[in-house]
C-alpha cells in the first residue's frame, strides 16, 4: 500500500499548455475589458460590472491556475466554505449599513442623510423665496410708479434742502447740521436699516426715534410713507418695485431708479396693483383685474359685503 502510491503519483494532472495560455489570454482580455468599462460612465452599475469581471477572472485563476477544478472535493469544500463565510460576513455588514439610517438618520447612511439635507435645504430656500416674494408683492401693491413720482415731489419740496438732491446729505441747509443728515447712498446703512425704521423716522422725526432733533416729524405723510421709503431706498440702488428675481440692482446710481428709467417688468405690474386699489376703494367687482393674485384678494376684502358674490363672478373673465 505504501509503495503503490509512490511509483505513480495519482494526483498529477498535467494540463495541456494551450489551456494555460488560453486562460492567460482570457485574463488579459478581461483586464482590458474592465479598464475600458470603467471609462464608460455606467454610474452605480460600474461597480457591479467591475465585480462581475473580477469574479470571472478570479474563477479562471482558482479553477485553472490553482487547479481547483481538478482538485479533490475536500479542497473545493474548504475553498467554497471560506467563500460562504465571507458572504455571511458581507451580507450582515450590508444589512447593518443599509438599515442604519432608519434608526438614526444622523449617523447612518451617508447618501440618505445627504439627500435629506438637500431636500431640507430646497424646502428652506423655497420658503425664503416665498417670503421674499410676499414682501416684495406687498410693497409693489403699495408703491406704484405714480406713487414714487409723488414721493419724489414731496422729497424735493420737503427733504432736499437738507438731504440733498442725490440723497447724500449734502443739501445746502444740511451742511451746517451736526450730526449731518443721513447719507442714503451708504449701502451699509441701507443694508442694516429696515423699511419700518425709515418709515418711523419720517413719521416721528429725529426726536421720536432718538436721532438728530433737527429731523422734523412728518405725520401727514402716513398715507404715502411706503412710497417715501421706496424713494429713499432708490438712492441706495434698491428697487422696491422690481420683481424678486432681480437680487442685485442693475444700476448703482439713483438716477437710474427714477420712474423714467423703469423697466417694463415694473410697468407691467402697475395696472394690476392699480386695479386692486380701485377695487378695494370702490368696493366694486374688479372687472379689469389682470392678475389672479389681485382677484384672490378682492373677495376676501369684500367678504362681509353682499357684493362678494358679484365680485367673484367677473374674475375669470380676463382669463378667457
Amino acid at each position: 500500500m505504501i509503495s503503490a502510491g509512490d511509483k505513480e503519483h495519482p494526483h498529477v494532472h498535467v494540463m495541456p499548455l494551450k489551456i494555460y495560455f488560453g486562460v492567460f489570454g482570457a485574463l488579459i482580455a478581461l483586464t482590458v475589458l474592465t479598464v475600458s468599462v470603467s471609462y464608460m460612465g455606467l454610474g452605480v452599475f460600474a461597480i457591479y460590472a467591475a465585480m462581475l469581471v473580477a469574479l470571472v477572472k478570479g474563477g479562471l485563476v482558482v479553477g485553472y491556475f490553482m487547479h481547483l477544478k481538478f482538485d479533490t472535493k475536500f479542497h473545493q469544500l474548504i475553498f467554497f466554505g471560506s467563500l460562504f463565510f465571507m458572504t455571511v460576513f458581507f451580507v450582515f455588514v450590508f444589512i447593518d449599513l443599509s438599515s442604519r439610517a432608519r434608526i438614526n438618520p444622523e449617523s447612518g447612511n451617508y447618501a440618505l442623510a445627504r439627500d435629506r439635507a438637500a431636500k431640507a435645504l430646497a424646502a428652506y430656500q423655497e420658503k425664503q423665496d416665498e417670503a421674499r416674494e410676499r414682501s416684495q408683492k406687498m410693497l409693489s401693491d403699495k408703491v406704484t410708479v405714480e406713487d414714487l413720482n409723488k414721493a419724489k415731489a414731496v422729497y424735493v419740496s420737503r427733504c432736499q434742502s437738507c438731504h440733498g438732491p442725490k440723497g447724500k446729505g449734502h443739501g445746502p441747509a444740511g451742511a451746517a447740521l451736526k450730526p449731518p443728515p443721513r447719507d442714503y447712498t451708504d449701502l451699509g446703512w441701507q443694508k442694516r436699516t429696515s423699511n419700518m425704521q425709515i418709515a418711523k423716522v419720517i413719521l416721528k422725526g429725529g426726536i421720536g426715534t432718538g436721532l438728530s432733533p433737527t429731523m422734523p416729524p412728518h405725520p401727514d405723510l402716513r398715507p404715502q410713507v411706503a412710497a417715501m421709503v421706496a424713494y429713499i431706498r432708490s438712492f441706495g440702488g434698491i428697487d422696491m418695485i422690481k420683481k424678486p428675481d432681480a437680487k442685485t440692482p442693475d444700476a448703482k446710481t439713483p438716477n437710474a431708479k427714477t420712474p423714467n428709467a423703469k423697466t417694463p417688468a415694473a410697468d407691467a405690474k402697475t395696472p394690476a396693483a392699480d386695479a386692486k386699489t380701485r377695487a378695494a376703494d370702490a368696493k366694486t367687482p374688479a372687472a379689469d383685474a389682470k392678475t389672479p393674485a389681485a382677484d384672490a384678494k378682492t373677495p376676501a376684502a369684500d367678504a362681509k359685503t353682499p357684493t362678494a358674490a358679484d365680485a367673484q363672478k367677473p374674475a375669470p373673465a380676463p382669463e378667457k
Binding site: 509512490d6 498529477v12 494555460y20 486562460v23 479598464v35 460600474a46 490553482m66 471560506s82
Partner: protein, 321 residues
C-alpha cells in the same frame, strides 16, 4: 529509515505513512491557510465597503490620485507572473527541471517589477502628502511655487476641525485664496478654501498657540499674534481623502506584504529546485520530481491567491468612477 529504501524516499517525513498522505496533508494545510487568507482579506474588503457606503464621494474624488495605467500595468505583470508560476508547477509535474528553475526566476522577477511600480506609486503619494488619517496634508497638491513657501502643515485635534488642513506659508509670502484654489483644482482634488487665519477661521488663537508650543515654534508666536497669521490657510478637502488613503494603504500595503513574502518563498523553492540564488553558491540537484513537488505547488497556490486578491483590489481602488 534509509534514504535508499524505495518505500521511504528522501522527501517522505517519518510521521507520514506515504508520499500520498504527506502530499494530501500538506495541500490540505495549504488550502486551509488560503481559506484563512481569504477571510483575512475579506475584513479589509468589508471595511472598504463600509467606507464606500458612508462616504460615496470619498471614493469618487480620491481615486483620481491613483494612476490607472500603473495599476493596469501591475495587473498585467501579476497575471503574467501567475502564468509563469502555473507553468512552473507544470514543469515540475513533467520533470522539466531547467524550465522549472527558469519559470520560478521569471515569477520572482515579475513580482519584483510589481513591487518597483508599487514603490513609485507610493513615493508619489508620499510626495503629495496623501497620507492616511491625521497624517494627510496634501501639500503636494499646491503649486510648485507655493510648496517652496510652505513652512508647516497641520491639523487640529478638535473633531469638527479635523477635516481641515492648515497650510502655513513663510511670512511675507502673500498667498491668495484664488491661487491655492487654482492649484488644488489642477490637482483634481476637490477642496474648499476655508479662510485665512486672521479672518473668520474657526480656530481660536489659543488652539494655535497650543499647537505652536507643541511643535517648538515659540519664536514664531509673535508672528501669530501681530499679523495673526495672514499667511496661513486652511483647506477643507471634500470627500474625506484621508479616509480613502487609509483604506488604500491598508489594502495595498497588506497585499504588497504578501507579494514581498512571495518573492522570498519563490526564491526558496527555486533554491530547492537546485537553482543558484547567489552565483558563487554551488548548484545542487533538484529535490523535486513528478513524485514530489508539493512545495512548488503550494508556493504556486499562495502566489495565485496573491494574484486573486489583486484582481479584486485593482477595480475597487483604481477604477471606481
Amino acid at each position: 529509515m534509509s534514504s535508499h529504501d524505495p518505500n521511504h524516499p528522501e522527501h517522505l517525513q517519518h510521521h507520514f505513512h506515504s508520499s500520498i498522505q504527506q502530499e494530501a496533508s500538506s495541500k490540505l494545510g495549504m488550502w486551509v491557510f488560503l481559506a484563512q487568507e481569504l477571510l483575512f482579506f475579506s475584513g479589509a474588503f468589508v471595511a472598504y465597503a463600509a467606507i464606500r457606503y458612508f462616504y460615496p464621494d470619498t471614493m469618487l474624488s480620491s481615486h483620481e490620485h491613483l494612476s490607472i495605467p500603473m495599476g493596469a500595468f501591475n495587473t498585467v505583470v501579476l497575471l503574467t507572473s501567475s502564468l509563469t508560476m502555473a507553468l512552473a508547477v507544470r514543469a515540475a509535474q513533467v520533470n522539466a527541471v531547467k524550465s522549472l528553475r527558469r519559470l520560478l526566476i521569471w515569477t520572482a522577477i515579475f513580482a519584483c517589477v510589481f513591487m518597483v511600480v508599487k514603490y513609485f506609486e507610493y513615493t508619489h503619494k508620499f510626495h503629495d502628502g496623501l497620507f492616511p488619517g491625521n497624517h494627510f496634508n496634501g501639500v503636494g497638491l499646491l503649486s510648485k511655487e507655493q510648496q517652496k513657501y510652505v513652512t508647516h502643515t497641520f491639523r487640529l485635534k478638535a473633531p469638527r476641525e479635523r477635516e481641515q488642513v492648515f497650510y502655513r506659508f513663510k511670512p511675507g509670502y502673500a498667498v491668495s485664496e484664488d491661487a491655492i484654489a487654482a492649484a488644488l483644482q489642477a490637482s483634481k482634488m476637490p477642496a474648499l478654501i476655508v479662510s485665512r487665519a486672521n479672518e473668520q477661521l474657526k480656530v481660536s488663537k489659543d488652539q494655535l498657540i497650543t499647537w505652536m508650543a507643541h511643535n517648538g515654534a515659540n519664536d514664531q508666536l509673535d508672528l501669530w499674534g501681530s499679523t495673526a497669521g495672514a499667511n496661513t490657510f486652511s483647506v477643507l478637502y471634500k470627500g474625506k481623502p484621508h479616509v480613502f488613503f487609509g483604506i488604500y494603504f491598508a489594502m495595498t500595503g497588506l497585499h504588497g506584504l504578501h507579494v514581498l513574502i512571495g518573492i522570498f518563498i519563490i526564491i526558496w523553492v527555486y533554491r530547492r529546485a537546485g537553482g543558484r540564488y547567489l552565483f558563487w553558491k554551488p548548484a545542487r540537484e533538484s529535490e523535486f520530481s513528478p513524485a514530489y513537488y508539493t512545495p512548488v505547488e503550494n508556493v504556486g497556490l499562495y502566489w495565485h491567491l496573491v494574484d486573486l486578491i489583486w484582481i479584486f483590489l485593482f477595480p475597487l481602488l483604481y477604477l471606481v468612477k
